[in-house]
């Protein structure tokens, strides 16, 4: 389990140009960031490239200057996720979410993951307890839409295809879920 305090301390030292801290930081969080990028890209090599770019930006202070918040593990994850999304947006969609095989059978990429679900993961993180509580207050389908959008970078259209729902419903789900989540997250614990 990566300690956020440790990450913040290392990040502060990296800002001062400490190469040893930079290596320690890489050792500490590269696996986490690769997982974040991999979730969006579904391509190990591309995910590793993204993580490299994030670290290059971090060292060159290219991304850190644009941070209006404390640079934490969460911040690093967001930067990684955003960069991965940039990659996805630049590349053409090569594989449809749904297709018919040679026998005419409907196929879909929306298969159950072997990885633990997001809620199981959130439950294991003390810091995420509030987010977990708030997410649990959402209806299952909107909750899933929110997670797929944020963690896998799916668009409204892709969410509609993945969740087999009308586009208007998806848009309403995400909008409503975000506001519910915000209200819940801003409530005193």
């Amino acid at each position: 389990m990566v300690s956020n305090e440790e990450v913040e301390t290392l990040m502060a030292r990296v800002d001062l140009g400490d190469r040893h801290a930079f290596k320690q930081l890489h050792s500490l969080v590269a696996g986490q960031l690769t997982a974040v990028a991999m979730r969006v890209l579904n391509d190990r090599s591309a995910a590793e490239d993204v993580v490299q770019d994030v670290f290059v930006g971090l060292w060159n202070k290219a991304s850190s200057q644009a941070a209006p918040v404390l640079k934490s593990l969460g911040w690093l994850c967001v930067v990684t996720r955003n960069r991965a999304l940039d990659v996805v947006r630049k590349r053409p969609a090569e594989v449809p979410l749904q297709w018919k095989d040679a026998d005419g059978e409907e196929k879909s990429h929306d298969v159950a993951s072997d990885n633990p679900g997001i809620f199981e993961q959130l439950q294991s993180e003390q810091d995420n307890r509030q987010l977990q509580n708030c997410m649990q207050q959402l209806e299952p389908a909107p909750r899933k839409a929110l997670w797929l959008a944020y963690c896998e970078g799916l668009t409204h259209v892709q969410l509609a295809a993945r969740l087999q729902c009308p586009l208007g419903t998806i848009k309403a789900w995400t909008r409503r879920s975000l506001m519910q989540l915000k209200t819940c997250m801003e409530m005193p614990a």
Binding site: T34, L73, V78, N128, G153, T174, L181
Partner: protein, 248 residues
């Protein structure tokens, strides 16, 4: 009075939420992105949403990092990683461990400056009275000229001028080595201590020194015939050929 959407905090917050979530697309996304660069409040609104949502990313189970990722990153940012000193000192260089790098520079200077000057003053062997010889100007560990060694090209005797003495125990002796261009070290034999001395060579100088680019001296036990130096070199420097080589 007309107002714009980005003047309404509620609208900003709603769009910031969609932007952070990743569901704001097309022109709307680009416009919102452009505004963030000039509007810190919009930038903060986006990051406030990320702070709400980032727990989902942090909850991802870390993956194993592929070997070499750090090396690639280090190489990209800082150039090739420095090879550990022990690995870098390949061949004969490892025997120079305790000797400062400046000593090598001195040896190079003496070898490359003195020799041409000598040749320019006296001309090549073809034109002068000086016989064709091998000459080595070796520096000490503290970067001073320490030892001059010479031998006639076809000679069997080594003449030694010791400019700076080094401590040698009673049961030890100075021992001469050649080093070829590949760094291979070859033992020649014991060298006596003293201001002006000479030693018999086991073979004609040409056979012993022709492939040498460096000469070096270590301290070894008396009566020994070491295959490799038993310690750091106490003198070392270039081995010069004092005659006109073909094509020069």
């Amino acid at each position: 009075m007309k107002t714009y959407w980005h003047q309404h905090p509620e609208t900003i917050d709603r769009l910031a939420a969609e932007y952070a979530l990743g569901t704001l697309h097309g022109g709307a996304r680009l416009r919102f992105e452009a505004l963030q660069k000039t509007r810190p409040d919009i930038h903060r609104a986006v990051w406030a949403w990320h702070e709400h949502l980032q727990g989902m990313l942090v909850a991802e189970k870390p993956m194993a990092v592929a070997p070499g990722q750090w090396d690639q990153l280090e190489n990209r940012l800082f150039g090739p990683a420095p090879v550990p000193k022990s690995a870098a000192k390949r061949g004969w260089l490892r025997w120079f461990g305790p000797i400062p790098a400046g000593s090598l520079a001195l040896g190079l200077l003496l070898g490359t400056v003195i020799m041409p000057v000598w040749e320019s003053l006296h001309g090549s062997a073809v034109q002068t009275q000086l016989p064709e010889s091998y000459v080595g100007v070796l520096a000490t560990a503290d970067n001073k000229p320490g030892l001059i060694i010479s031998s006639l090209r076809k000679g069997m005797t080594l003449d030694i001028k010791q400019l700076v003495a080094v401590p040698v125990a009673a049961d030890q002796t100075l021992y001469l080595w050649t080093i070829d261009k590949d760094g291979k070290v070859q033992g020649i034999g014991p060298v006596p201590s003293g201001k002006f001395t000479s030693a018999a060579l086991p073979q004609e100088a040409e056979k012993l020194f022709f492939t040498a680019v460096e000469l070096a001296v270590s301290v070894e036990p008396k009566q020994s015939q070491p295959k490799q130096p038993g310690g750091a070199f106490v003198y070392r420097g270039l081995c010069g050929k004092l005659w006109k080589l073909p094509g020069t």
